[in-house]
Amino acid sequence: MPDRYRRQSPLAHLGLVARASEDQSAEAGVVMAECPFCAQTGLRGDGSLARFGNAVKTVLGIAPPTEPNTVTGPEDFADGARILWLGPDEWLIVGGDVDAEPSGALRLALSDRHAAVVDVSDGRAVIALSGPNARDVLAKGCPLDLHPRAFGPGRCAQTVLAKAHVILHQIDASPSYEIYVHRSFADYLWSWLEDAAGEFGVRISNSRSDRNGLLGGRVTP
């Protein structure tokens, strides 16, 4: 068993845990958090085949969505896996702690057909964005229509945010979102979001990270 205390989330260097515990204005229009160490599995396969969906469902309890840009599964990381539609033959399975090696069973279940299961947990950082002005912040850098009439809980989309490619998943109508971004862009995107959210007041939270395990940051070079 690898030493969980030595792992680092993509934004570990920002000391977000410490910042979250500092006294912060309660009136913040935007709340930001990193959701670290959440298992992410890339799934490829022929979604038009029922056998494929069933195989996935047998393992995960949910089938991959066939409706573009939607998500199946529970809202919360803590309540098990969910599956985000990324393409007609591509999904992202999210949930569970990363060190629990969640993709093994699925790989086995699909081993007899043309499919690919790839652990990409570390490939993306996940940033949670919520608060009354969350949508305004996104609108500053994202060309999607995020108005409730066009986008809402249970929807996901791959798009552009500032100068990064992201997966955007709306969690609830408050509104709160989860933003998946390639790990090497995480520092950039976080800075950009904090900058963009400045006018509304920002509060750093670690509620998501609390729920999903331990934060890194113990390593000193």
């Binding site: 573009p68 990324l86 591509e90 791959q158 798009t159």
Partner: protein, 99 residues
């Protein structure tokens, strides 16, 4: 700024896409049977029409799928998109000739 219909994701902003040039200029299956002129035609020659253009796009920041778009190069009006391997409905004849 274009609003491009991804066959999967629907209308999305131009900035999410990458342009892939003329569609239906397929790579010869057996390159060696083509002389240098024919090979150059495949590699470099373009229709570059004023008007209807069948072209490839990829939803690069979206679902990463390649697909075809029928667009007017003078007005930039888009008449529709269709998946790779499909024929543009109204203009099938023209495509046949070029395939």
């Amino acid at each position: 700024m274009l609003l491009i219909p991804c066959p999967w994701c629907g209308l999305r902003d131009e900035v999410e896409f990458k342009y892939g040039g003329e569609a239906h200029n397929n790579r010869p299956l057996v390159p060696d049977v083509h002389d240098d002129t024919a090979w150059a035609a495949y590699l470099f020659m373009k229709k570059n029409p004023k008007g209807l253009h069948l072209e490839r796009w990829v939803h690069a920041a979206g679902c990463r799928r390649w697909f075809n778009v029928a667009r007017d190069t003078v007005s930039n009006r888009i008449d529709g998109s269709y998946k790779i391997g499909e024929k543009p409905p109204a203009i099938a004849a023209e495509t046949e000739e070029s395939a």
